[in-house]
Amino acid sequence: MNNRRPPSTGTRSSRKAIDIVNAGLARRYRAEKRFRFYGMAAIAASLVFLSILFISIFGKGYPAFQQTYIQLDIFFDPDILARDALTTADYPGLVKQSLRRMFPDVEGRRDKRMLYKIASTGAAYQIRNLVLDDPDVIGKTIGIWVPADDDIDMFFKGHIPRDVPESERRIKDRQIAWIDHLIKEQRIEKHFNRILLTAGDSREPELAGIWGAVMGSFYTLLVTLLLSFPIGIAAAVYLEEFAPKNKWTDLIEVNINNLAAVPSIVFGLLGLAVFLNFFGLPRSAPLVGGLVLTLMTLPTIIIASRASLQSVPPSIREAALGIGASQMQMVAHHVLPLAMPGILTGTIIGMARALGESAPLLMIGMVAFIVDIPGGFTDPSTVLPVQIFLWADSPERAFVERTSAATMVLLAFLIVMNAAAVYLRKRFERRW
């Protein structure tokens, strides 16, 4: 623009068009280069933030997949394990007995309590289950790996330094001496933390697992999927293909778009008012959680489905109508299958959002301490993001790494779901 000359036929004709084009070329390429740079900078910035997030979560979380175990020689004392009362026998006593035998010089009530704290309270449950499974062990002495207490675990993993004054450590000098003894005897080791992946919640970090939350999320999302997918598609198909275009359908459309932007806590309030107070459904149940999340995901699915239906080329509709398909047949046989990849993507994105949601579940009682792994749609349960929230708020140091580990599991599920979206898209996508 800047080098435009006054219109003069003489110079115009002497300058060929190609010269003018060439003169501007450098500027055009510069603009293109600049734009590419901006684009790459934007991508790089988001990659940096993503990797910071991942590195911090993975860095904190990976130690949680290992847990410190101590090998105890448990003598299954027939005096304690009376045959007729195996379920209620003094199993903690067995653990204490074996610890005392290992460190016979520990005297005094205080020191003994300190010694007993080395092993997790879960050790007693572990031994109990062992005895109940196989009562023949009674009378024998068996070396058993039991989880160490969370403080010992933190110390063994190096999160509690040795060099601070004893009064400021949760691990006392005597305990350190015992641990060093155990290390020498190779009776303390880090093993893969199966408990984290298979157990329900616990207040003892070494016994806490996410399986309960995973199952809760599963049941909740199953309800959400079973409801929101058919309802969402039906609504989208009706609005897009059948509904007359008038102010009522406009109003509905505006409302659906609005609902997609409503903060999720509002759906929780709605769920509290309608499902719990009016219908009297149980609190903390995946059924209600699923219903609430359905309300939340429906707008997303409807909007994605409508966009997807709109993108089906009119030529396919005409082809079907042209040989005498009814409106319904046209939609069901041709338009819907072609729109399916987009609808599935929208649904999975909606489900992924539902998987990561915790705010609306607060209102319907799914933010709760639940130890037992839910086995159905009405059992009390919690979900993965809520579990992360609860652990993040726990005072025990060992929950810090477990919070990150739970986040890693949640991220893994999200990645799997999004990969499924990509796969389904590829699988069902057809050219026309």
Partner: protein, 299 residues
């Protein structure tokens, strides 16, 4: 054409010349040279025993008057070509013939369109069987993203035209044979129809249309997306199909119209200007606008 019809049209020409405000007549031939305001159609609008006939059809898109009082017959077992410059309404009138315009909310049709004497715009007429009787082939080949077999079988399947698999196989084969595609695809019926070449796709669409045994086939510029060889194959096919079906074809190509059709209708800005035997339209048009168009003065 027989005498009385000729007579009617002559009288129309006469009437047009008196009504029009700006009409110039060639003194030697009696041809209307120019008639800007003439809304009267020149030529043989009606045929004996028509398959379909339009009577005083007006089409509006909202306020836009797209088709202005058009009357036209479509004869049995013959091809009628509809020609005219872009935006003249030729596709619009074609899409009225099987009520494809119903899908456009703002489109409004008045007048009568008769199929075997029954008004298809009558309240009790169901469009589903209507479209089975009046099939349509579109400008761009639009096979379903399914197998070749399913493309052809789809229509018969939804209408329940085949009792069993054997019947369906037979129906698919005869349809593909009629469309001249059988030899090319018989070994790959399970492959997607979208994998065929453009010309093959268009013939597949024709096979799909004739599989439901329509009485009329409407073709909306069926060759505009095809190369000359594919075009000539389709044109030969159209020529054969007229043995069995009545065909209305909209085309941009005057050569094509002259090659495949028996009658030709020339549209201009929503008016049907002239209709007559193809040979007559292309050799001796009676209206100046037709003359201008076929000689390439505009269009």
């Amino acid at each position: 054409m027989d005498a009385p019809l000729e007579h009617t049209d002559d009288s129309r020409i006469a009437k047009a010349s008196t009504v029009a405000s700006e009409t110039v007549k060639d003194q030697s031939s009696g041809r209307i040279l120019y008639s800007r305001d003439s809304r009267e159609t020149v030529g043989e609008t009606f045929v004996d025993n028509p398959r379909m006939s339009c009577r005083n059809v007006d089409v509006y898109y909202d306020d836009k008057h797209a088709i202005k009082n058009v009357s036209l017959d479509i004869g049995r077992n013959q091809v009628i070509a509809m020609i005219g410059p872009s935006g003249c309404g030729k596709s619009t009138i074609l899409r009225c013939l099987n009520r494809m315009n119903d899908t456009i909310d703002i489109c409004r049709v008045s007048g009568e369109i008769l199929l075997d004497g029954v008004n298809i715009y009558d309240r009790h007429i169901d469009v589903v069987p209507l479209r089975a009787r009046v099939g349509m082939v579109f400008q761009k080949p639009n096979p379903f993203p399914k197998s070749i077999y399913d493309n052809v079988a789809y229509g018969p399947r939804i209408h329940g035209l085949a009792q069993n698999k054997a019947e369906m196989d037979e129906l698919v084969e005869t349809s593909l044979r009629k469309a001249g595609l059988w030899e090319e695809v018989k070994d790959r019926l399970d492959q997607p129809g979208t994998g065929l070449s453009g010309g093959q796709q268009q013939r597949l669409c024709i096979a799909r249309t004739i599989a439901v045994s329509p009485e009329v086939i409407l073709m909306d510029e069926p060759c505009s997306a095809l190369d000359p060889i594919a075009t000539s194959i389709i044109e030969d096919l159209i020529d054969e199909l007229k043995q069995q079906f009545s065909i209305a074809i909209v085309t941009h190509s005057m050569q094509q119209a002259s090659r495949v059709s028996q009658r030709t209708a020339y549209f201009h800005l929503g008016d049907l200007i002239e209709v007559g035997e193809t040979a007559q339209i292309f050799t001796n048009p009676r209206h100046q606008l037709t003359q201008d168009y076929i000689t390439g003065r505009f269009g």
